[in-house]
Symmetry: C2
Subunit: 355 residues, 2 copies
């Protein structure tokens, strides 16, 4: 057994950079390599790319097969995209090379939801190569699904669930903001919804079907609504300026029906600088059942930081999991990875068995 | 494979009765038998004992080996006691007969904590007999440990944790109230603390060591304090009257130190009728780290209902677990068991793999 867990990071944007910094910080983890899609960064030292003031001796490679073969990673963290259509090729290359994978692509949180045949194929491939694959992130992957499911564990009966995440997009980069319509005119937002450029939140279907699978519910249909959040005051971040009357974000809601009745409502308005208009950011979970449960926190768990932490914290869980395709509720809960990562791997699954 | 999961319930007090009612309610579960310690109940039909208006054809048996052999349970739920010294003999009989076990005995939530050699022996026995054993409950087992650990999953770093559960003991029976000193004079409370009759909360050490194990922290020492909560107004429940000046409950706190610094503080004042003096009941978890996280709910998750639900909801998880001795953070998260229990067992661990 090696002394360190060799980690390959895919993606050198905001999320990939944060994940790389965590891998560098954690004892027992070793940053084995870095893959980036953007050819203008090929060969750049990762230290420079992620804003460190030192070279890491890890060049960014745009040839995934080459970097896998050169860096011999035990596990890879994919932070390149949101959708399976974009994630697929990289996932197949990683699994095909026998590398365990944690993906923060939103659709990978429950791949069977959007892409059942791909999920089946990837599972077969993972089983054949003896590796485990997991999708995670703050949302989907944690607040509006894993945490909801966990809280239903104290219920003898659940009648309905409402979960709301009101967050601040200010730390995010241009691609995330564009998908929420931030900075657009209301007309451009409507056109963007129609042509798909404005997507709102990726992950409602994944969260709903994870909850439903955990509870044993059959969902009949999901109704989604997307409304522009119109700024009444000027809102400004490092990457965007929203003038009054322009779109500050997207209020996106999904309601799932079972036996003709709304049973899961997920509410997720995303915008820049909500505090500029007195909007409180928060995470709220309300379960109506026996007993009813309500848990809330404000401000919201910060999405970028939390997603990077979850991806890294799940490394010991994924390395200890049986081969195959996993979801967050399939595996033991995440925990902050504080000690030596290789040692934590020994501990995993043994907590009840210490003498 | 049988169509139903045969469940033996140990204990016919408040908790055992609630668990038996849930087992009767859930499709796919079958109440195979009932064991009680109190000889005056031997032979009584369980339906009468748990307050149903019908006979169940399930007599309460005080001979555990006999009821195991007659009822052939797949799994047993133990609701007879709090401490391992009291739970031990029943656990050995169950595991020795090849029966999976879920115990709500507080010390069984992390048996290696109070009884390392027993935990080792029970683990060996469970492995030899091919069964899984789990301790669960609202606290320890959920609010002040599993939920705390889960929330640290979004943190890159954790510096300290404070968790507080302010609950209402009014629904509980005489044995629980006596252990908190409810109804005593302040002098009797002090004497009770000294001679062990007043115990406060069972489970701080278990919760702290579960959190520490999950994070990879070494705990140097735990400091516990127990203070009487003196009633200023009359407080009355179905089983006790507390006059002003008498003890309404016990404010019990545990602080765990690491590298000389307090890192985990668990605060759990337990009393009857807190609302009589304007005390808000609540569950609060605060993690100071990167990022910091705070989640809270009021009123508190009701302990009795939640513990019974957790015990029953964990049945599919325990039946799907590998043989051995498990803790809540070792296993996938609980979820309300809503559909057919036998079907849910098929689903467990497969959520990512559906097509």
């Amino acid at each position: 057994m090696r002394d360190t867990i060799r980690v390959l990071v895919l993606g050198t944007g905001n999320m990939g950079s944060e994940i790389a910094r965590l891998v560098l910080d954690k004892p027992g983890l070793e940053l084995a390599g870095a893959y980036g899609r953007r050819h203008e960064r090929a060969g750049m030292d990762l230290g420079h790319a992620i804003g460190l003031d030192r070279e890491l001796g890890v060049p960014i490679d745009t040839d995934l097969a080459a970097v896998i073969e050169r860096s011999r990673p035990e596990i890879a963290i994919q932070a390149t995209c949101s959708r399976i259509v974009d994630a697929r090729e990289e996932l197949e290359a990683l699994v095909g090379h026998g590398v365990h994978v944690i993906s923060i692509a939103e659709q990978m949180v429950y791949p069977a939801c959007s892409s059942p045949s791909f999920a089946r194929d990837l599972r077969e491939m993972a089983l054949a190569r003896g590796v485990a694959v997991l999708g995670t992130g703050i949302n989907p992957g944690f607040v509006l699904d894993l945490l909801v499911i966990t809280l239903t564990g104290v219920c003898a009966d659940v009648r309905s669930i409402v979960a709301r995440r009101v967050n601040d997009l200010s730390p995010y980069g241009p691609s995330v903001l564009a998908a929420q319509g931030v900075g657009m005119s209301p007309e451009a937002f409507s056109e963007g919804l129609a042509d798909g450029r404005v997507a709102g939140h990726y992950g409602f279907a994944e969260s709903i079907h994870l909850i439903a699978a955990a509870l044993g519910w059959q969902i009949e249909r999901i109704e989604e609504t997307r409304e522009p959040i119109i700024a009444r005051v000027r809102r400004e971040t490092a990457t965007v300026v929203v003038e009054p009357g322009q779109v500050a974000g997207c209020s996106h809601t999904a309601v799932a029906y079972r036996e003709g009745r709304p049973v899961i409502s997920l509410i997720h308005p995303q915008q820049v600088q909500p505090q500029a208009e007195g909007v409180t950011t928060e995470d709220v979970i309300e379960i109506v059942g026996s007993p009813s449960v309500r848990l809330a926190g404000s401000p919201e768990i910060p999405g970028g930081q939390a997603t990077a932490a979850l991806a890294v914290n799940m490394i010991p869980r994924v390395l200890s999991a049986p081969p195959g395709l996993h979801t967050m509720p399939d595996l033991p809960v995440p925990a902050a990875l504080m000690g030596d990562a290789r040692q934590r791997l020994h501990d995993t699954g043994q907590a009840g068995q210490h003498g």
